[in-house]
């Protein structure tokens, strides 16, 4: 690939580029959601798409999450590839029947006769001062359901490559974007690359401890790894990139190599993604571990508004590096 083909894009630009490329490539791809057209969503992720593709393909809806998600399911069954936009991840609660009882089960219940090639794009992540109903990370719920795939991109590069794959997938895929990451910049090729779902990436190699991190927590883990490096602790950062399908092999191999693991995810730990990842590692690498797998995620509280309260609800570079230090007996 020529050097000039790699630009620095923000996470939001990478998402937009993936959508634009897929909409140019396949006329059945359309976007459906609240204020997705001229407004380009409150996060401005979709700015410019309606100008290129028109309001026939970038479709503004009423504030009816259950209604237009259900409409997306039916449209996906009958020839379109809708990308349904749920502005805040908290609003997935309103779409649960359509996603869990309908989209996830239609292929199986019909004996493989109908398919639902649909993407739901939504957000996760706290610390935006948005309070309890606009700050949750609820991706564990969809990860629990057979028939759905769940994508948790952590860089602009991954966001573009994974979203293109999600749109081409024949199944319902839920794509969670960390709303605090939209301005994060990173290198993104301008060509038509895709990243398969279910393949983890070692974001940083290390020997002493593994930090398994998803979505918003990958940057936290990388920051913590830099802090730890100054103290002579070599941390490996592994990003599953999708909570389902899950690349168990890469997680287990890293755990066997370093013998210590912290699992980081911004959702609630109780019955959450960290619980599942920790269990997978404990089952697969038990005899190679020097310490129990540690889980770090959101505190078990509704996300508070007040900044000093909100800030302590999620892991930070400091809390993660401190936990790693203790686990490596260098605390």
């Amino acid at each position: 690939m020529p050097e000039s083909a790699i630009r620095e894009l923000t996470f939001a630009q990478a998402v937009r580029e993936a959508l634009a490329e897929e909409m140019r490539r396949d006329s059945s791809v359309c976007i459906i959601g609240e204020d997705v057209a001229e407004a380009g969503t409150p996060f401005k992720v979709l700015s410019g798409l309606v100008e290129e593709f028109g309001s026939e393909r970038v479709v503004d809806t009423p504030i009816s999450e259950a209604g237009f998600t259900g409409l997306g399911v039916g449209a996906a069954m009958t020839g379109l590839r809708p990308v349904v936009d749920i502005m805040f991840g908290d609003f997935i609660t309103l779409t649960m029947d359509q996603m869990v009882n309908q989209a996830a089960k239609i292929h199986y219940m019909s004996g493989g006769h109908w398919k639902v090639p649909m993407v739901m794009r939504t957000t996760l992540g706290a610390t935006r001062r948005s309070a309890a109903q606009h700050s949750q990370s609820l991706h564990a719920w969809f990860s629990h359901v057979p028939g759905l795939k769940v994508v948790l991109p952590s860089t602009p590069y991954d966001a573009k490559g994974l979203l293109k794959t999600a749109i081409r997938d024949e199944n319902p895929v839920v794509f969670f974007e960390d709303k605090m990451m939209y301005k994060l910049k990173g290198p993104v090729p301008d060509d038509d690359y895709t990243i398969p779902l279910g393949v983890a990436e070692v974001k940083r190699a290390g020997d002493d401890i593994t930090l398994v991190a998803t979505s918003s927590m990958v940057q936290i883990a990388l920051g913590a790894a830099t802090l730890l490096e100054h103290e002579g602790i070599s941390a490996e950062v592994v990003d599953p990139r999708t909570s389902w399908p899950l690349d168990e092999k890469t997680l287990i191999e890293s755990a066997k190599k370093t013998s210590r693991v912290i699992v980081l995810d911004e959702g609630y730990g109780r019955y959450g993604v960290t619980s599942e990842l920790a269990a997978v590692i404990a089952e697969g690498a038990f005899y190679d571990l020097d310490a129990p797998v540690k889980r770090m995620g959101a505190m078990h509280v509704p996300i508070p508004f007040s900044p000093p309260l909100e800030d302590v609800t999620v892991p930070t570079e400091q809390t993660v590096s401190e936990a790693a230090r203790q686990m490596c007996n260098k605390g």
């Binding site: 009423p62 259950a66 209604g67 449209a75 020839g79 009882n101 199986y108 493989g112 006769h113």
Partner: protein, 334 residues
């Protein structure tokens, strides 16, 4: 509650051939005899689980589906056998599905409440009350975006009038003039509760509030249902937007096959009245005979032929193999 009389004009009769009427009669008898076999399978403990019988409501499914093309879409309900048959499903593969056999429409994985069949435009029966309203509306959305002239029909019972998503999608459908017909089969009972105890206000006003064209029709009269359905379907096909049709009907049996003692929510006298005076097959066959479209002997012949066919279909299903156990993890993902 005021129920508007059907506005269907009798002139359409002349436009329809005798063969069409006879075909509709066959379809109604097929549904009735199919459900008799289902009840028999349940009673003989040959069927796993339960089933929700459509007996008494045959004129609705047949009247609506005869107004559709094979490539038009339907979504169905937990009480869906009639819709599937009326849209063209074969009894043998339906019985096989009810028994959980590999030859079933869903390879035995769906069962009575989830029969789906792309070949006949059947997007699937749905066991969530009101669960398919989004799917039907989405199929209409895709038809419009893709420039086909297909129409989608969303069958649901009056119990679904309590579900909010119905109102969300009716709003979308009218905003975007989608070719979808919402068919409310009002059989008077939300499971074990009379609908007047659960439904405030007027039924049709729910649709007209959105500007959707709406009508009520005698759901025991297949010609009336067919007439108004044809008008709504053609209107939708021309791009003039959605319709809402309330078909007033009656469920002859319980909520499901095991709902035997029903007197705490409805009387035997009421059931007898509907069966004796408002039976859709009797109403239609009386008309066929009176008009000279058929002799009694022909109708008898049709009944016998269908009964024989149903017995053969049941035999096929009973003798069919179950899916192999390794099928359990297939089709979770496409």
């Amino acid at each position: 509650m005021t129920m508007t009389a059907p506005q269907f004009e009798a002139g359409a009769d002349t436009a329809v051939q005798r063969d069409k009427w006879i075909h509709m009669y066959r379809q109604m008898v097929s549904i009735r005899l199919f459900e008799e076999q289902v009840n028999e399978l349940y009673t003989r403990a040959l069927m796993p689980g339960l089933a929700h019988l459509y007996s008494g409501e045959e004129a609705v499914a047949v009247g609506i589906c005869e107004a559709l093309r094979i490539d038009d879409y339907i979504t169905s309900t937990h009480r869906g056998h009639g819709h599937c048959l009326a849209k063209g499903a074969s009894p043998d593969r339906m019985f096989a599905e009810l028994l959980g056999k590999e030859a079933g429409y869903c390879r035995g994985k769906g069962g009575s409440m989830h029969i789906a069949d792309p070949a006949t435009g059947n997007l699937g029966a749905n066991a969530i009350v009101g669960g398919s309203v989004g799917i039907a509306t989405g199929a209409a959305f895709a038809a419009k975006k893709l420039g086909t002239d297909r129409v989608a029909v969303c069958f649901f019972g009056e119990g679904a009038l309590g579900q909010g998503s119905l109102y969300e999608v009716m709003n979308l459908a009218q905003l975007w003039k989608l070719p979808v017909i919402y068919v409310c089969e009002n059989n008077l009972y939300n499971e074990y509760t009379h609908y007047t105890e659960t439904t405030a206000g007027d039924v049709l006003s729910r649709a007209t509030a959105f500007g959707i064209e709406a009508a009520s029709v005698n759901g025991q009269d297949v010609r009336a249902v067919y007439g108004i359905a044809s008008r709504f379907v053609e209107r939708a096909r021309r791009g003039e937007g959605p319709g809402f049709l309330q078909c007033n009907t009656y469920r002859y049996t319980g909520h499901h096959v095991g709902d035997i003692n029903r007197e705490y929510y409805r009387s035997k006298a009421e059931e007898q009245l509907w069966k004796a005076e408002r039976d859709p097959i009797k109403i239609f066959s009386d008309w066929l005979l009176a008009q000279g479209h058929a002799e009694a002997s022909l109708l008898k012949e049709i009944q016998d032929e269908i009964r024989t066919g149903m017995e053969a279909a049941v035999k096929f299903a009973i003798e069919s193999p179950y899916p192999s156990v390794d099928e359990v993890e297939k089709h979770v993902y496409a």
